[in-house]
Amino acid sequence: MKYQSQAVAKYYFIAAIALFVGQILFGLIMGLQYVMGDFLFPEIPFNVARMVHTNLLIVWLLFGFMGSAYYLVPEEAETELFSPKLALIMFWVFLAAGVLTILGYLMVPYATLADITGNSLLPTMGREFLEQPTITKIGIVVVALAFLFNIGMTALKGRKTVITLVLLIGLLGLAVFFLFSFYNPINLVKDKFYWWWVVHLWVEGVWELILGAILAFVLIKTTGVDREVIEKWLYIIIAMSLITGIIGTGHHYYWIGTPRYWQWWGSIFSAMEPIPFFMMTIFAFNMVNQRRRNHPNQAAVLWALGTSVMAFLGAGVWGFMHTLAPVNYYTHGTQITAAHGHLAFFGAYVMIVLTMISYAMPMLRGREAANSNKSQVVEMWSFWLMTVSMVFITLFLTGAGIAQVYLQRYSDTPQAFMVVQEKLATFYWMREVAGVVFLIGLITYISSFFVGGKEAEEIA
């Protein structure tokens, strides 16, 4: 750690991992509810478990992004953080808002939560992933602004690098597009149309900039490859992300009451969305092959390579699978979507945050560059456990999805939704088993922070 103020990142990373655990526990509850419909009913209905699961994911990824930025920007800008105090205050504000919101979901019925937070004044609640009370949304905006100010001022007073710039553009985009979550017209079609300006333009737009910037940073640090080369790659990758991803939004506008032309625009451009992810894979492996030194933190290198591959598989391949309008006609809103969602979020965004934590945490905890060999071995085990089990979750959900599409949509005698769901029980059970393995992987991951602490640091 070169700058004292980078230390604030540690708070963000620890909170991220803690919330990650919560996310997985609720994922397992939901998984069980898929096969044991009355599990925890009516105390924790499925929709509550689901919003806890998805909202925790979003919140902990945001913690991860912010922590990454607080670690990365001072090092890139070669200066202390503009205000470490502001970063800490915002940490506690964001954590309190996040925890209170999750408790609100769990303690009172959602309608009561909507009522006591004054949703009728500015109704924004009750839409997928944007379930947070309006006041929490305003809190998120405040935290994001303070964060951007802090990071922006740091970048301004120091060295300006491409990585910082791209990260800042990504984070700024994240904040700007979130503002569309406050627009909730009665017209359901318009509601959905602009809802995607938050959801799609986040995960298939500006978040890819954040992903690219963090990946580029870790690769520069761990491979020692010339910055010029890495930055050129970064520009090309994010250019392709936005060139394909912006019009690619159209693949959500096939069947929601919007004009037919989106089927053409959306199909053509979203079919190209795997390209930037493929370039990212080539990029990561190329840089590691051309490395000028062997960094002692091999776990971080593994995470970085893993991110590039899994993002390509999850976001690229699994996205492409159902993105063309004639295919999507049958797969829209089935378990295929769930399969894609799981692998894409894990492969792209969960793994990039874990990559950054893996790289930064040893330094944040006072080591020179890397953890002991023992600790790294445990961490690599957790990498494989989580990655492989997530691949299996995806495969089982894909199997369920294909069966669902056939039975409910494609066969000559389409069957009712609930009838089909019963027939998919085997897939759901196997998914739950894979989910338990994922939890074991996560426990292994956390334990890697507590083993081999006293042993000597790994040296290359």
Binding site: Q33, M36, G37, D38, F41, P42, P45, F46, N47, V48, R50, M51, Y110, D115, N119, S120, M125, G126, R127, E128, V162, I186, N187, L188, V189, K190, K192, F193, K232, Y235, I236, A239, L242, I243, I246, I247, T249, Y254, W255, I256, G257, T258, P259, R260, W262, Q263, Y329, H332, G333, Q335, T337, A338, Q408, R409, Y410, P414, Q415, A416, F417, M418
Partner: protein
């Protein structure tokens, strides 16, 4: 040849390309905004529908169901439920009203929300409205 491919070139492609496609996206979105009311002229928004949408949101129905294919995949599609229930708002109201308070042993069940008659009518009106949206022929069949 690779040295002619400079970083500034890559940067220009990023800025130029992003701006270009964002402007194109805005242009298409403007056209879509104009088109949505015309395409969905049959789906009329009444105050009752508006009330129904708020109730739909305040109870996070989308946390289990899909509507026009978006939402959770735990419970049936509701974009066409009005048609699936024989074009009857009464059938929708009766279904919501009849949900057992403590669920059904071993099975998925919708919670009992204890809506009053006015709220039930509003939700049914909203779902009827949703079924009248022109979705370019989706879903493939009545099962959603």
């Amino acid at each position: 040849m690779s040295q002619t491919f400079t970083k500034s070139m890559a940067r220009n492609i990023f800025y130029g390309g992003s701006l270009f496609f964002f402007l194109l996206f805005i242009a298409l979105s403007v056209d879509t905004s104009e088109a949505i009311p015309k395409q969905n002229a049959k789906a009329i928004i009444t105050p009752q529908v508006a009330m129904g949408k708020r109730i739909w949101e305040d109870n996070d129905c989308i946390g289990c169901h899909t509507i026009l294919g978006e939402g959770a995949y735990f419970a049936p599609e509701l974009g066409n439920v009005y048609k699936r229930f024989g074009n009857s708002t009464d059938a929708i109201k009766a279904f919501i009203k009849s949900r057992p308070k403590n669920g059904i042993p071993g099975r998925r069940s919708m919670p009992q929300f204890n809506f009053n008659e006015k709220q039930l009518s509003a939700i049914a009106a909203f779902l009827k409205y949703a079924s009248e949206i022109d979705t370019n022929g989706w879903p493939p069949n009545i099962q959603g």
